[in-house]
Structure formats: C-alpha cells, structure tokens
Symmetry: D2
Subunit: 437 residues, 4 copies
C-alpha cells in the first residue's frame, strides 16, 4: 500500500482493527449457533457479546502473538481478557483458524467490492454526463494515430462508459463469487462442528456457505476476483491513454483540469502535464500485477498449504486500495476534463478537407465514374492539398472533370459533418439504455 | 500452437480455411442486408452465394496478398475470381477490414468456447462419477503436506467438481461476452453503412451487435475471456498437483492409468511417472501466460491501433488449443485414475492412531478433564506412538488415568472413522445439486 | 510460432530435423568419449558416424514414437536402422533421455542467441548511422507528451542505441549462461557414466559442463535467458512507441518507409499508418509473456519433474522466433525511417518561441531582475503568444521593461538553438565510445 | 510493504528520511561542482553543508508539499529553512526534479542490492556448510516424484548453492546496471548544467554517470534489476518446494527447526508444518510480480512520461524488502534444518532394493546375458518385491538363473551405495571451487 495512492475508507477495511472486529463477529455468531444447537451453554454465547463495543487493542494482541506465535490464538486470548476466561472457554470450539481467517478475507473482499462498485458509479456518472454534453462535438477519429473519419467526443465518452459498465457488471459477479464463508473444521468435513454453524455465521456476515471447502475456501474464487480487477485496471489505462493523447501539445483537444490558482505554468502556458492520467497508467500496472500471483495461488497442496497467505496479505489490500484510488482519480479527471472543441475542428481540418477523400471517391463512383478514374480524380486533387496546402473542396470545385459528374451542391454535401454523426443517437440508445454485458 | 498438444477440432477453428469461410459468410450476409436496404442490387447479393460451397484456395489468396499486402483485399480478389468481378463489385461496400476481422475473431472465440464447454463437461462427468464411486473411501486429509484429519477421496473429487463447475459457469459468461460483432465502418459511426447490416450479419453469425465499437470491438471483452481461461488453467493445475502428490512413491494413493501392455516399467514397477499431470502443470503455465498480454491489449490508441493483432494471432489459437487439449487429457486422467484405498488407509495409520489425538483431547475435556490435564494425557501417550511406534488407541486403553475418565467404549468411539464422514452426503448435495456460482 | 512473424533461419533451429541432428551429434560424441574410456569398443563408436550425413526421417521417427511413446528411444531405433542394430547397441549407454534433451535445448538456445546477437547488430548499425545523420537535427524534447526543451533527433537515436547495446551485452551474458550441457545420468551422480563423457560432448557442442545437474540442467539459467529476451522486447516497444508518436498526424516528424510503388494511400496521403511499429508493440507483449512461465519452471520437484517441458516446447521457439523477427523488422524500420526535419522545426515553433520561456527567465534573473519580476515579465509576453498567437521573441524585443535589462542581442541569444545542442558530441562520445553496461 | 515480512535495515532505505537525506547529498554535491565551475559562489555551496547533520522533518515537508504540490520544491523550501533562503538560492540551479529523483532511486537500489548480496552470502554460507555436512548422506533421488537412483543430501544442498551463487552473480551485475546517476537537465541535453556536475555528484554517490539520459534514466536498467530479483525469488521457491516435500508426513526426511520450547504440537508430534518454506513459496510470487510492470515501465513517451513513477513507488520497496526478508528466512531455515538420514535410508529401501533394478539389469547384460533375458530375470524378481514385499537382493541371490551368470559377490556389488556417491567430491569441486556463472 502506497499512502499517497490510498483513500481512508478502503484502507480501513484492511486495518488490524477491522480484521479483529470481523473475527469477533464470526466467533460471536458461531457461539450463538452452537448454543442454538445445544453444543455450548447459551449463557456463554451471550457473554461473548459483552465485547460488542470493544475496540480491540492491536498492540496488546501483537504482544500476545509475540509469545503464542499464532494470530488467532492471540486474539482469542485478548478476547478472554474482555469477557472473562471462564465465559470465553467455548469460543472457537470445533473451529480452525482458517474458518475465521478465510471467512474474514471474504468479508473484506466483499466490502472492498462494494466501495469499488460505488467508485465505478462515480466514473460512470461522469462519463455519461460528459458523453451527453459532447454528443455532437465533432472530432477526427483516428486509427493507427492517423486521421481517419470524423466521430464525436460524445462517442468517445460513450464507449468508455460502455466499457466501464461492463467492468462494473463483472465486478458484481466477482463480488458474488467471493461472498462465501466456511466454518467447516480442520479439513472441511464438519467433523467437529455442525454445518448449521456455518449457515448461521454466513447469513449474519452477508455471505453464502461455501458448498465444499477443505481447510480453506477454494482460491479459484479469488483468482477470478483479482483477474476482474486487472481487466478494470486495463480499462482505466485505456481511458488514461486517450486523455494523454488528447493533451499532448500537438493535439491539445483536452486537458486535465488545472485550477486557476494552481501555481507554476503561466510562464509556460503550454506546459500543463497530464500527470493524473500518466499516474493512472502506472496504477493500472500495479493493479494488474496481482493477477498472476492470484492464479498461482489456486493450486495448493492437498487440503491446504499456506503459500497463498503471504500473497494475499500483499495483493488483497494493495490491489483494492490502488483500484479504489484510481477509480476516484479517474472520476475526477473525467468530471473536470477541459475539452477544446475548436481545437478538435482545427485538427480535423489540418489537411484541409482531405479527410473526406474517401467519401468523394464513393460519390464519384456512385455517380458512374469508374473506380480507376474516380481514384485518379481524387488523387490529383488530394495531392494539391498535401503538397501545396490547398483546400480539398475548393480544388474539387475547380476541377472541371470532377464538376462534370458531381454538381457543386453534391460536392458540398460530401463535406457535411452531419453525415458522420447521424447515427449517434442510435448508438447512445444502445449504450445507455441496454444491459452492459 | 504445439502440434503434440493440439486436437484437430479446435485447431480447425484457427485454420486459414475456416477464417476465409467465416469472412465469406460475413460478406455474403452483409450483401443480403444491403440488398434489403436497397443499397445494392439484389442480384449481386444473390450472386455472392454462388461461392457458398467453395473451399477457398489458401495458397492462391496468399499469392494475391503477396502483391496487395492486405489480407482482406486479397480474399475479396479471390472471391471475385469465383463469382465474377462484375457481380462481386458490391461486396464489402461501406465496410472496413476490421468489420470482417473482428467479427470473425469473435465467431472463432465463440466456437472455441463451445468446444471448451463440452470439454469441461467431460471433466465434470468424470469427476462426478469418481466422486460418487469414492464417496466413502477414507483417506487422510492433509494441511501443509502434514496429516491432519480423515476425509474421503470422494470429497476430493467433489471439490474439484465444484471448482470446475465454477470454471464452466465463468466460461459461459466469457463466451457470452465475446459473442458480439461489429459492422460499423471506419471509426464506428456507421457513416457509410446502415446499422441494419450489422444487425443482420450478427444475427446470422450467432452474435449480438457490439453496442458501441470504434474501428474495432473493445478488447476488455477479450481480456476477460483470456483471464477466464487462465483461471480454468489454474484449476487444472490444482487437480494435477493433487494427483502428482498422490502418485509419489511414498504416498502412492493413486496412479495415472498404465495400460497393461504399456512397455517399460515392469523391471521397475515403482517407476510409473505421473507424466500426464506433470504435463498438465506445464500446460497451465502456457495458458495462463496469455492473460497479461490480453490485458495489455485493452489500451489502444484512439479509435484503434493494431498492436493487439499480433498478440491475438498468437494467444487466441494457442490458449484455446492448449486448454482444449489439457481439458481432454485431464478428463482421461480422472476417468482412468487408479485409486488405492488400501494405501490410503495405510498412510492414515502410519502413526498408529495419532491422527485422532485432537479428538481424544476433546473427548477428555468434554468428560470434565481440565484442558491442561487432557493435554498431558494425550501427549504422554502420543509420544509413545511417535517415539516407540506404539498404537495410540492401545496406549490410551492401557493408561489408567485415561480409562478412569473415558470408558473403553468411549475411547473406541474416538477412533470411529464414521465420525469424519457423516456429513459427506450433505456436502455432496450442496455440490451436485446446486448452482455452481 | 506465427508463420508471418517467423524467419527461416531461426525457425530451422527448432525444426525436428535440427533437433535430431543435434541428438545424433551428442550421441556420437558420447560414444567417442566412451570408447576413449574403454567403456565401449572403438569400432562401435566409429560406426555411429556412418550416419553423419544422414538427414533423419522425421515421419519415420514419429511412426516409431507412436509405438514406443518415447521420443529418444524412437530416435535411437531409427538411428539403428541406419548404422545397424548391432553396431548401435552401445549408443546412449549410461545416459538418460534428459542428458540428450537438455543438452540439445541449450545448443538450440545458444544458436538462437547467436542469431539474435547478429540481429541486434543490425539494429545497432542502423541506430548508429541514423544517430550520426541526425546528430544536429533539432526537435522539441517532450516530457509528459508536452513540449519541454529542444533536443536533437540524433540524441533520440543515440539513446535507443545505448539501450539496445545494453540489451546486446545482456544477451551475451544470457547466452553464456545457457551454454552448458549435462551428461550426468539418471539423477546427476554420474553413477553409470564417467564425467569425462560430459566434458567431451560439451566441448564438441560448444558448451561447458553444467557444474551440478540432477536429471536436468537447472532452470534458473533458462529463466534468466527468457527474462533477458523480455527486457529486449521492452526496449523494442520503447522505440516503436516513439516512432508511432512521431508518425501520428498532428506530429508527423517521421514516417515508416513507404515504397513509392506501394498501393493505396495517394488518395489519402495523410493515411500512412505506422503498422510496422504497431506490430512491434504487439510482438513485444508476445515475447514478454514467456518470462513468468520461465520463472515458474525453476521450482521443479526433487531431481526433476517434467512440467517445464511443455512450457519450453512453447516458449523456446516462440520467444526466439518472434524476437528474431521483431529485431529484423525494427532494423528495417530504423534504417529506412523517413525523417521530416522541417516538421520538427514547425512543431517546436508551434507556440512561437514559447519553448524558450525558461531560458529567458533565467537570463532575466542573471541580469539582476528579481525572480518575481522576471516571472512577471516572461508571463505577460508568454500569454500574448499563447492567447494571441504572437511571436515570443518579437514580443520580448518590443517590451521596454525587458529590453531595459536585456539588450536585443542578449534576447536573440536566448533563442539560439546551439545552446541546446552544444553537448551533443560529448554525449555521443559517451554512447558510442564506451562500454555498454 | 507487509510489516511482518520486512526487516528494518532494508525498510529504512525506503523511508522518507533516507530519501530526503539522499536528496540533500545530491543537491549539496551539485552545488560544490557548480562552485568548482564558477557557476555559483563557493560560499553558497559551502553553506548548504550546514544542513549536513540535519534530520529532515518529514511532517514539515509534507505540509509544504500540500501547498506546492511538488515534492522536490517542498524539500528545497524546507532545506532553505535550515540554511537560510538567501544562502539556498543557488541550490538545484539548472537541475530538474528528475535529476534528483532518478539519481536517488538508483542510490536506493544500489544500497538495497548491497543488503541483498549480504543476505545471499548468508544463504550461501548455510548451504555450503550443510552440503559438506551431508556430503555422503545417501537419499533416494527422485524424478517425477518417483524413486529413481540414490544421490546424497549434500548434492541437494550443493545444487542449491550453485543456483544461489548464480543468482548472486546476476545480482552483482544488476546492481552494477542501476549504479548510474543523471544530472542532465530538462530533456537530458545539459543545456543548463555542465556535465561536470553530473560527474562530480555521481562519483560522490557511488554511481557512474548515465551515458545518455533524457529527463530520466532509461528504465531497461530497472527492468533488468527486477527481472533478476524475480529469478532469485524463483530459486528460493525451488529450495522451499524441496524442503516442503521432505517434510511431508510420508517422506519426513527433514523438518524445519522447531525449538524444544515451542508450544503446541507435542500432542500431535506428526503435526509440524513447514510454514516457513510455504511462506517462502508465497513470497516468491510476490517478488516475481514486480517483473512485468518493471518491463512495462520501459516504453515511456518521448523524453519521459511519469507512468513509471507510481509503479516504482510500489515495486521498488516491496520487491527489495520482501526479498531481503525471504533470503534471511531462507538462510535460517537451511541453517537449522533438521535432517533425518535414517528416514532417508528407510524411504530408499521402501521397495527393498528395487531401486537397484537398473543396475542389476546392466550387470546382467555386461555378463553376457541378452537384453531380453536380462530384462526377464530382473522383472520376475522385481515383481516379487513389488507384490509380495520380498527383498530384491535376496530374491536375486536365490534365483539360480541369476546366480549362474552373476556370482553372489557381483550381486552384492550392485547394491553398494558407494557406486552412486563416488563422483560427489568431483562435483563438489566443480561447485565450490569455480566461477558461479
């Protein structure tokens, strides 16, 4: 976790305090279920809830762990300090540490996913608003970095919206996948604990019982979760790269917002760096790097080995905290992105009208000119634009061989931008009014 | 693609012949739609179907491409050789190469997914059958590679079934995600082609129209697809590792099938190597390596750059062909896996009864012995097993301090394996009778 | 291996013919050494060389392997068909298949590295030539995609040269690392074969004996090899990205070479796509994806498991063939890259002289103006350039407050590009006349 | 950074205090060099050193950064608070932030590498000692997890030594590669600063001048650094996997050290889990995950984009801290690993003598028995071992057809373990007395 790329709400999920709180809840709910089953006295189960409002003392637990060398035992010892060791003696009965640890991890991942879903909503809101704002703001579409045909800035925002909406839908699924808990004992056979305990604890913690666990919850669920974060990160990178391109000096179709009071660049007004989107590009790599280790974590030995644990201590907080930060940064960037429609037009007209050469070619052939002749006509006028800086439309209008087949009005028509934007509403309907996946 | 790890049906999807066939179908359906719209003459649309049964000549198309340096143009030129260049002149009108290429890729991925789903069914069938066959075959559960408590071989198969069933459900979603097509023109604005063409072509090719495309279909869909394959591969590795452990000389609880006629090892009957599952372990790495490049492919420049293309020429066939092979190999391995229940029992009893020490401890405390005393009693008898090779149950029965609190029958009870298997049916019901995800 | 991204010389290294040829040589040299030791008759060793000029029949070997299910045995059987089974009976004595397979892999990797080193020399030659050609071709340096200060195109080429030279030096080391062979028997103890055989075979095959092998040569060597290819691939991507940026419509400082006869774009002269460097960007991802599996291959079970084998069947040919292709393509791109110095100047002067604002600021403070005042003076003139399109130098010359502290000649001096290029020779000396690492 | 997997010395390298300290030194040395050149007054350069013993106030710098939004400016402002803003006014002259930041990163990486090299020495010392201790401790060699032929525990340690020694040699190279600094100004042209400053600063900071930098030091150097850490991590995993296998219940040839006072397992003496090596397996994944992002960092836009920065804020501390921890843990594990030679013998003799079947086969053929007959003789006796638990040697001695060609003494000879260990000294000489690479 890199402090400057972390937000408090998400960071809190991964704090020792939160972890101990979840452990407590799992143990307390398990005691309730055990009392329901008559396995432990009701009184002892109720006694556990005395610690309901305790803020567990992390330093003290660490101190105990230094002796016991076992985190769950250290916690249970500390818990007994609060509720009395006699009352505490049925806590954790029939359970293994993994029952607590794995269920807790999934509670944390579910909570993290909920924050991320809300983050994505912010990004989606911003994208949707900007898409509608610039629905008809014409700019040049580019393939290979080279001008192709006109499109609109709204379509650019709309496609990022569609991509992020898919990401959100995937994240909901990934959240669902890790929303399982297990209280199944040493190797998952429920030998020392009734499945009813698992059912009760899971229901209270907002989880489903894992249909079949060993000592642990199977890690393909987590691999899918982190893979999903990796795809979302890649979509963030996709948007970031677009904005970085738009802001580069020669293009300047947009800029990350610069507060008027922001120091520094008025002596070099051209020097406003897209540092937020560059940062997002890097953060995407950081999030994505969790994917392969998460997959390597799937193949554990027999009913469990603990190699996955250190990996998850790293990637679970890091990937969720970083993605949370990145999504929020992205929402802000999109929300306040400064768009320069006039520069978009200027860029599009850089080679005066040349971008319409394809359409003119088509118009000529449709007017009955052979493909070869149409090509020759377009080419000779295009070259004057390219080499002499002439205006393509004017050249065509001045070329008698062209005007003999295409009336001036027909030539003018080919340069009508409305031609390129007439399906925008239809595309918007597809994007904003249908299911994302 | 590594020939020895490839099956013909999947390989065929990625052959030039199949690719050209799909290109043909897309172009022909597009012509139909254009004729419906009145954009091109019906007669020309119909003429295209004359090539319906043509097996396109790959060598000839390559020859043309060597001149035109453009694969789609080469194909269209060759197509014209079949249907006559006059009839062919409306083919591809208003489309870009990417319309054909991207739609084709998704058709191929969908078909590949269909094969993979059928493959997974084979794996699931084998796992289910073996799970029920060995539902009550007791073996020792292991955590950290160390004996823990008893479980059953059926539970092992059942958890692999549950994991693979999740993988299958994810693959269905991934298949759905890439089941889109796009016929939207140079930058996705439908400037030169009506959206109705896209709708018609997609319907005929078993796809949905991509809600918003640029020149290309967005690559987050494909990233998710390959990430899903990566998770499935990791689950294959998980099963493979289990089997490799079971087959190692000191464990020998199972062996990959060895046909009786199979040459070689009878002079060294201990030397039957789990080469198939070792191979699967390696194949999992090969499949997984497609994940990161697929994610790196998401962030393309503006409306498209073509950097994704070479990556997909590699990973699309390679990952699907390798996974298809691996799933089939895995189905065979599971189907014919030779299980040694007697060795399972022998392994479990390696430290005569010691595996039950936890239960005895619990029984003693439940019988009123203090935790400290119970621990001492268990320990002193356990040590005789560990150091002198004694039998744990016999030692307990001979220890008056133990028998003073636990009757012999109660002691015997603790060694009843039925205790560990009594929830197997309930777990099986969860696994085999509920939704996988 | 993707045929269109493969060159015959590198592909040949990975053909079955080459593999069998290397197997033959290893076996034949081993027989010589065994004869030297008196372990086998000299006559039998000599007889093996009868097959010296045989081109082994791959189909026949495959046929035998279909029966024996063992590739090395199949080969030996076929070899015996050439030299007589009686003469052949001492071939392979005391060796394991892995002795042949692992030594062969390293021979192949060494040969592949030799081709790659030659490829890198081509890239280096092209970069060096272009660096000197454009040593003083001034262009704007950019940070964050935004204009910063002037640099030269020669420096750009020179830094790519320095990076590739480092890559080449690393590849030499990686080549050295895999240049080992092992003929050490079943678990590496030389129990059935004298170390002298290994020494002889290695010497003849251009390898060093692996100091300690098990059944196999340790895979950290190979992990380092593929990691090195991954870094080189990343440097290729670095160059490719630069060129793609230079070619984008709004920048147009360079273009990939377009042969005058090349079809297609004269009607759209702006539409020359940097498809080669986009392709290189994708190929870099393909090469890089070998790195993680190669690292996952290091941890094998005990003296060997065969999980690495399938991985290497994929990545060894794929990564080397793709890198060979990429380096050659890159050399061609650099060699023929069309540079537009006039566009470089035009881009630099896009905001007429504004790029020199920093220098003017410095000159003012050095002339005794306070930092605040200097900033104010620069800013008010900069803003006229930015907002009204004025020329920065002219505005400064017309600003009496500026000219009161800076004489016109001093102002002119600040716009002298020579200021930025005066250390180029020194940097060139560092790059081209010193050790790369 | 995961606190529980971090050691203070390495963590300190990445603290803000250390970073600011290095910044200070770079700035102070740069001032000296500028004074030498006569660019700034000597007095001002000397004044900077007044802060020589200052422990910079991180909170105060953060406070300033909150306003300036620029870390280097915040630091310089704070520095001026110590040495007086008048004296401080020449600090940083002609430099860019990246000159400081990139040079600092490399100083940190060099220091981290020095710690890691010392760590590796600890690992190497332990491996060497244990190798010699168990040079002749015979154990079974295994391929595919299946018993093959005898080897020794010393050879196992020796091969890990050789692998780690290679890793160390690679790390020295990687350290050398990142031991460069750059003080070259905005785009690397030295426009505003003389190269002599760079030379002076680098010499003082233990670095070489980067031959050609842009705004930044090229990232292929860092990619190679992290790739090297990834290979070392994979070698750690290799050793960890071996130990985990040795400790599994059925094998039990070694155990991680368990202090006699260590709580917990004496009631279950079989339950000593190899948690340290399982942890190392996971840590290896964490370290390795830095490799791909480091490679993705190489291709930056033009003279720099800042996408690499966030990545490095994560991976530079995380990968070095984790590897430092892992190497120390590994050294401890190896140092104290409990070896069970008697279990090694017991495992080897599991199938009484069967492991020698290959040698007997060879002895028979060398005694003139045809290959087919020899095979038949071995097989029929082997089967009695496999199926009836007989002793292979005794069966052979009792088989008249065998004894008719092999005298009892010859048969005994085939079971002599010295045969397998006679080249150990020679291998040790290769490993411990020669160059690692």
């Amino acid at each position: 976790m890199i402090p400057r790329y972390a937000r408090p709400e998400m960071t809190a999920i991964w704090s020792p305090e939160t972890r101990f709180r979840i452990w407590f809840e799992i143990e307390a709910h398990a005691c309730d279920a055990q009392a329901d089953l008559g396995v432990i006295p009701r009184e002892n189960a109720e006694a556990v809830w005395k610690a309901k409002d305790v803020r567990f003392d992390v330093a003290r637990i660490d101190e105990i762990e230094a002796v016991t060398r076992h985190d769950v035992i250290a916690f249970l010892t500390h818990l007994a300090e609060h509720i009395g060791s006699d009352q505490a003696r049925f806590v954790h009965q029939g359970m293994t540490s993994s029952d607590v640890l794995d269920t807790t991890l999934n509670v944390q991942l579910v909570r993290a996913a909920d924050i991320l879903l809300a983050d994505m909503d912010k990004v989606l809101d911003a994208l949707k608003r900007r898409a509608h704002e610039h629905k008809d703001t014409v700019r040049i579409g580019r393939s290979h970095g080279i001008h192709a045909e006109p499109t609109t800035m709204g379509l650019t925002f709309a496609r990022f919206y569609a991509e992020m909406a898919r990401g959100r839908a995937r994240l909901e699924r990934a959240r669902h996948e890790v929303a399982t808990g297990a209280i199944s004992g040493a190797v998952g056979t429920f030998a020392n604990i009734d499945p009813a305990v698992e059912e009760h604890v899971c229901a209270r913690m907002g989880l489903r019982p894992e249909p079949i666990s060993t000592q642990i919850i199977p890690r393909d669920r987590h691999a899918m979760f982190f893979a999903t974060l990796g795809v979302i990160a890649s979509s963030i990178e996709n948007i970031a790269i677009e904005i970085r391109h738009m802001q580069r000096t020669e293009v300047l179709e947009a800029e990350e917002f610069f507060s008027p009071g922001q120091k520094g660049s008025s002596a070099m007004p051209h020097k406003r760096n897209p540092v937020l989107t560059e940062n997002l590009t890097g953060l995407a790599r950081l999030i994505r790097m969790a994917v392969i280790p998460a997959m390597e974590n799937v193949a554990l030995w027999h009913e469990r080995d603990i190699s996955h644990s250190s990996v998850e201590r790293g990637i679970a907080p890091d990937a969720t905290i970083t993605l949370d930060f990145a999504l929020n940064r992205l929402a802000g960037v999109i929300d306040k992105l400064v768009i320069y429609p006039e520069n978009m037009l200027a860029n599009m007209n850089r080679f005066k009208g040349l971008v319409m050469s394809q359409r003119v070619l088509l118009a000529l052939t449709q007017a009955g000119v052979s493909r070869e002749d149409a090509y020759r006509l377009v080419q000779r006028n295009a070259m004057k634009v390219w080499e002499e800086g002439k205006d393509f439309k004017q050249e065509l209008l001045a070329d008698p061989e062209v005007t003999s087949v295409l009336e001036p009005a027909r030539i003018e028509e080919q340069f009508d931008l409305g031609y390129h934007t007439r399906h925008v509403d239809r595309i918007f309907a597809r994007v904003f009014e249908s299911d994302p996946l």
